[in-house]
């Protein structure tokens, strides 16, 4: 066997598949699965032989191909086979091609900072502004990045540990109510996502029980698999309004 040892770098299984189909000069609507599957596996073998990491994505496609190929040996209905090939292979490929073309088309536009350039606010204009504080221009990613940076700096590779703090059930109750006011319904686990110690966790839980007991919060689960959710039974939630709208839990006394 003589391989041309010219290993193209394929972005993913669809890329490789397209390459093989192209090379075999076959129609995408009439893919000779057995042949293409063999070629695909050969290619993976070659990559392994050259110690190139074969990503899991490639293996998933390999197993799909092998599966289809093996089914073709069975006296199944031809229509069923064609359907499977279309759904598992042809349609993903068509979608991939159309998106690849769209990406190509996008990249051919007049791109800002590549083909065309805009003006920036010249510094002399900014100076005229003095101390005025204009609006904010910041995105979520910058925020996350800031946080990550901070965590890395302060505690390289170490989980955050916080000094134990004393929380009262009442405080936690207020916090839970504040959160429910903001969101109407939250997931059970979210309630504890900010708890940093076992004792805080327990206090949160007691607070929740208290709220349920008082009929201010409902706990439910949509299906067996779904996460437990909490929903407020006060204020805007059509049920009885037992809580003042100033965020204080005035009706809860201890």
């Amino acid at each position: 066997m003589d391989y041309e040892v010219r290993l193209d770098i394929f972005e993913g299984p669809l890329d490789l598949l397209l390459h093989l189909i192209h090379k075999s000069e076959v129609d995408i609507f009439d893919i000779p699965i057995a042949t293409i599957a063999d070629q695909y596996l050969e290619y993976l073998e070659m990559m392994k032989a050259l110690n190139i990491d074969v990503a899991g994505d490639f293996l998933v496609m390999a197993s799909t191909l092998v599966h289809i190929k093996s089914k073709m040996l069975l006296p199944d209905s031809k229509e069923e086979q064609e359907e499977e090939i279309f759904n598992e292979i042809t349609r993903p490929l068509l979608e991939y091609i159309s998106l690849r073309d769209a990406a190509q088309e996008l990249s051919e536009r007049e791109l800002l900072d590549r083909d065309v350039f805009a003006r920036h606010v010249p510094p002399y204009l900014q100076r005229q502004l003095g101390d005025e504080e204009p609006q904010l221009d910041v995105n979520l990613f910058q925020l996350i990045d800031a946080f990550r940076r901070l965590m890395d700096q302060r505690l390289p590779g170490v989980q955050l540990s916080f000094r134990p703090e004393k929380w009262s059930v009442k405080e936690k109750t207020e916090i839970i109510i504040a959160r429910l006011k903001e969101n109407n319904s939250i997931f059970f686990y979210e309630l504890f996502s900010e708890d940093r110690t076992v004792s805080e966790f327990i206090v949160s839980f007691l607070a929740l029980l208290e709220l349920v007991h008082r009929g201010l919060v409902k706990i439910f689960q949509l299906t067996l698999e779904s996460d437990i959710q909490l929903t407020a039974l006060f204020e805007g939630n059509k049920q009885n309004g037992t809580i003042g709208n100033d965020g204080k839990t005035t009706q809860i006394d201890y």
């Binding site: 990406a103 350039f117 003006r119």
Partner: protein, 198 residues
């Protein structure tokens, strides 16, 4: 002190960092109506188009912005020593999927591209081309992605509707058997607005 509206608007466009819409301009020139401002913007655009200068007024990201004509980029790139906007092919393909399928989940993107896209999403977020639109009510509460305004700016698009049409995948009759493509339920809104004709 009274200046012609056209030149006032021009001065704003000239000094602005971002594309300006008629609505925004109206915010600073409340004595002028938005249709009036829109009209002036169109006139200015035409004027610069025919003026034969090195820059024009372009309509992008739902606003107007002065930009150099494309022929001058070699010189400007040299000056700014800018590594010009360059997106890798994976990044570009992922961006295309997000642009066309938004709101979209990561798993849907990965299904379409056939590979993991974690690293690519990071790059696109960093470049402010995409944004997180929220979370889907599904197990794991996955993030929903969409394009950011900067996407329109960079790709010279007036709005999302101006995206070049995506070639639609025809179904070859197999769907009667109920094997429809597992559509991400989140992309439904987009579908609806995209192909009202079909």
């Amino acid at each position: 002190m009274e200046k012609p509206l056209k030149l006032i608007i021009e001065s704003l466009l000239f000094a602005a960092d971002n594309p300006l819409s008629a609505r925004e301009i109206h915010g600073w020139l409340s004595e002028e109506t938005q249709p009036n401002i829109r009209q002036v913007l169109k006139e200015l655009q035409k004027e610069y188009d025919t003026m034969g200068r090195s820059f024009v007024l372009k309509e992008v990201a739902e606003g107007y912005q002065f930009r150099t004509r494309s022929g001058y980029s070699p010189y400007v790139v040299r000056m700014l020593k800018a590594s010009p906007t360059r997106l890798s092919r994976p990044a570009l393909e992922t961006l295309a999927i997000i642009a066309y399928k938004q709101p979209v989940l990561r798993q849907e993107i990965e299904r379409l591209r056939g590979v993991d896209v974690g690293g690519v999403l990071k790059v696109l977020l960093e470049k402010n081309l995409i944004r997180i639109m929220g979370r889907k009510n599904l197990p794991g509460r996955p993030l929903i992605y969409g394009t950011a305004k900067r996407f329109l700016e960079v790709f010279d698009l007036k709005d999302l509707k101006s995206l070049p049409k995506l070639e639609e995948i025809k179904d070859f009759g197999f769907d009667e058997h109920g094997t429809t493509l597992p559509q991400s339920p989140s992309s439904e809104d987009q579908r609806q607005s995209e192909d009202p004709e079909t």
